[in-house]
Symmetry: C2
Subunit: 197 residues, 2 copies
DNA sequence: AGCGAGGCAGCACAGATGTGCTAAAAAGGC
DNA sequence: GCCTTTTTAGCACATCTGTGCTGCCTCGCT
């Protein structure tokens, strides 16, 4: 009774084909026909799993967020707050090819979010989740976070959050200028700065 | 002999029409016909000032960078390094409607730079210039920058640069979460941190 | 006044795109 | 083995896109 490839997994396979097309030709290159060719099916087969193109693209972007979330949740517990923060945030940086692809796709869709409401909804909730993660890390990182004014904590969270996305964007756009080692160094320096402030 | 509206200025007017279209409908909405309608001319008139669409889009993106550069160069001299850095970098953040538009357009084109070589060239040289600006500001900011290892300065430059673009992206994408006041606060906090390190 | 060149509009055309419709093929239950 | 449901292919159609081509209209010069 379990089909060899079920509906949900097929949708993920197609979404990954979208990633490859987007990396090669941008979001505007992710036409129904191009994605179908990349996935190895006919356009009509595609339409069986995604009724409209909007649905296809929205699902594809959600999958990026889901994959990252899954990686973070699967992370082993680490006692030291700096190291924990390093591990968690590293999952969001383009440190290897898989995450480079994710980041590039994310950036491409981000631009589309400026004008596409359904994409924007996915993006907003994802960024909210990332901000919450940053908040948790900062609270564990700052010595007396409990007794600190909320505005001060908020400031640190915003700063960390902005740095994180800045690093991600830079490294995804210009990998030749940002080695994984340099990304980690900057992140680590910033985290140390929060702890020792 | 001076025409009422000369060639170069007409090109800028058209590029500004592109900005408005991109803000409304994204880069993929910036078709020749849409831009012509926005600018109030026929598509043929457009083709008189820009032979191909690529030329139009590349020029439009360059104009964003040129405007920002001009604003920075026109800035009055400020003795205090923190205040100077604040003033300079503020010109790159979406603190008002004009700069919000610039940032949104920049982000949209940035995504296209992933696949469009001519756009990428503009983007790379602009980012190099911004990095150079950051370097200058950091050198003035850090007390003993001259005697500091080059790698340490480089680290601070990268961190500032990433924070700057992270702030810009966040504020452009979600203005409702980033008031100009909050942007300035985070920037100021980071600059103070560099000075007092 | 006449003329030549540049600025502009309109149309045309080939290609691509999203999506609907119809039928064939495959799969699965009895 | 047959029949129903799901999955896939193929085609069509209206729309939109970049860009080439042709002609008009309006300046500026002599």
């Amino acid at each position: 009774m379990p089909k060899v490839v079920d509906h949900a997994e097929r949708r993920s396979q197609i979404a990954e084909a979208v990633w490859r097309v987007v990396r090669r030709d941008g979001v505007e290159g992710a036409t129904v026909r191009a994605v179908a060719a990349e996935a190895g099916w006919s356009p009509s087969a595609l339409r069986h799993y995604f009724v409209t193109q909007d649905e296809l693209l929205t699902f594809t972007m959600s999958l990026v967020a889901d994959r990252a979330r899954a990686r973070i949740e699967a992370l082993p517990a680490v006692a030291d707050p700096v190291r924990r923060a390093e591990r968690v945030l590293s999952e969001l940086l383009p440190l290897d090819d898989e995450r480079r692809t994710e980041n590039a796709v994310w950036i491409a869709f981000n631009a589309r979010a400026l004008v596409d409401p359904s994409i924007r909804a996915v993006r907003d909730s994802t960024y909210d989740a990332i901000r919450a993660v940053c908040h948790g890390l900062v609270v564990d990182l700052v010595p007396g976070a409990g007794s600190l004014p909320r505005a001060d904590v908020d400031l640190l969270v915003r700063e960390l959050n902005a740095l994180l996305d800045g690093l991600a964007v830079h490294a995804a756009l210009r990998p030749e200028l940002w080695s994984p080692r340099q990304l980690r160094q900057v992140l680590r320096h910033h985290l140390d700065g929060i702890r020792d402030r």
